[in-house]
Symmetry: C2
Subunit: 389 residues, 2 copies
Amino acid sequence: MAIPARFTPPKRVLMGPGPSDVAPSVLQALAAPEIGHLDPAFLTLLDELRAMLRSVIGTSNELTVPMSGTGSAGMESCIVNLVEPGDRVLVGVHGVFGQRLAEVARRAGAEVVCVDCEWGRALPVERLEQAAAGRAFKLVCMVHAETSTGALTPIAPFRELADKLCALLLVDAVTSLAGVPVEMDGVGADALYSGTQKCLSCPPGLAPLSFSPRARAVLEARGTPPQSWYLDLSLIARYWGGERLYHHTAPINMLYGLHEALRLALLEGLPERYARHRRLSAALGLGLEALGLRLLVPPEERLPPLTLVELPQGADDARIRRRLLEQHGLEIGGGLGSLKGRAWRIGLMGASCTEQHVLLCLRALTDVLASEGLVEPSPRALEAAGAAF
Amino acid sequence: MAIPARFTPPKRVLMGPGPSDVAPSVLQALAAPEIGHLDPAFLTLLDELRAMLRSVIGTSNELTVPMSGTGSAGMESCIVNLVEPGDRVLVGVHGVFGQRLAEVARRAGAEVVCVDCEWGRALPVERLEQAAAGRAFKLVCMVHAETSTGALTPIAPFRELADKLCALLLVDAVTSLAGVPVEMDGVGADALYSGTQKCLSCPPGLAPLSFSPRARAVLEARGTPPQSWYLDLSLIARYWGGERLYHHTAPINMLYGLHEALRLALLEGLPERYARHRRLSAALGLGLEALGLRLLVPPEERLPPLTLVELPQGADDARIRRRLLEQHGLEIGGGLGSLKGRAWRIGLMGASCTEQHVLLCLRALTDVLASEGLVEPSPRALEAAGAAF
């Protein structure tokens, strides 16, 4: 066969729903020379990594590890370790990732009670409570930050609901972790998963996960082994814990990268990091509105790292995103699920959350949308955002 | 919390059962800037990567992809996509990875017929045929290259057996791919998986996988969805195939690395690569024997990329491996399963398969074992290997 040339990626600015731009020191960390997954130096890295991960998640849970897969593997890990066939699981669905949770739980043999709620709004806990109808559940699942709609939902009320239903509380924090406070122990979540390619600004490929002692007790009391061997946390904990027992070969270089990404988050300071995401997201929102665009989510329910903006009337979704990419090197995300073709997803995550990113995005959108005759060519979007910096 | 320093790995030479040393250009590829998983440039990379992967696997199978997990995720992917509850699966077990296949199949609801065979020998097809006792099976599973014992088993006879049993043939090629001919289409395997951190000399984190049209037909005719959503090949094929439908976020940088590692394998030439592994493995074996050590596997059943050597009488496994690591920067592998404490696993894989590696390993072993009083201090191991180069 003809052997392709070495791949050189084009220069891009990533402002979609993830991956986000990766800091140079994280990319350098990925390229550090290989060492073994049982090397004492590597085991030290794992210990440091876990300590940092606990800090970012806001937990003291012993069972806190990055799973060897992407965010969806984190989701599946939580479900298959906690659910046994026939268990009743309550899932709030207000976007694609709630749908996915329900599907994963069904495949694990759960009796899933799915509560369909409005997309683009926070998840209403009272709707879940009604649907529960007083029955006991094994698990209540909620998506903290819906990556398909840009809605942020407070976790604490779902803890209260889970208590009423004698259930564990499972939280999807894929797009919130390291961009929005998660505070796992503070809000009382029992199981939580995330991804690395969002506000942590590490490449995709790992899924941070944490189980509370209560979730761990449920795991240990299982009557059947989890249906997945690869994601079996009882086995994985023996590698990450004291025994260092081989389960699968850890993804060494990805873990180098995550170690560095966590360091960067903590060196910045979590409160400072959250404030940066809030401040620049607000500026972006003002800029987009000054351009005449409409944001999908009401202000008080918006997820700072991800802004959903409706397409202007008559806009050609694919052509506009292609022009942004080709003419400005800018990637923004298309809509997902029922929002496909109706909204764009603009990310301000981690290293992609800077004043420069906000300005580049608004300038590029003004340019392309104006040349398509969809908005007036005017500096007012930049002015509105700049005034909010 | 106290934020740890940037991690700098110690200098190591990796001659365990994987990960192997990673070529500088592969490490550089990992550190290329992030682009999106739906970026046209990235989709081109995926197409090139699949074409190269088919070449290395020796197949024209359309469904040939790297799964987003390590080798064990590749194993689980094959099982959960092909097995439905109640299906009968025949597994030859002559090491840890056969045991793992059986366990994964049981968790997928299969009725597993496990055939326990001698560790350190090739898998005897006639034993599997006896155990099958004429019954029909959904799947016959065999480990081509047993990473726990260093035994290599020809695949073709298992194709004949699978035909007799009306079964698909599933092959574990984790430690053979790119180091030993696999020739998937030539031997008629229906499903095959591997890992990246062995003879491909890419970091761990991806699992190359291929399904024959027959395996794909079985997948498409399923009555139930696979129990794993994350590993569901029907969904994953829609991202890798024409539709480019989002399933999970591809591990971008790991795929950069695999693209480059596949390029290196093809630039070297597969026949040349296999010959290098054979030649240097033979030299290593002669050197080890000259040192007075005993190889576990009979010559004609040895797996060139991985040599199992028995511990000398009275050797302290952990101390010797620690001394090799600390004094020579050399990692070799301990025994796994029933060989724990009884054998060492010495890898010559991909970038770790050079004359320098052979000499370094023999020198280090001579030094440490002699100072422990276990062998005579003598240059004869180096001489024996050098004469065979």
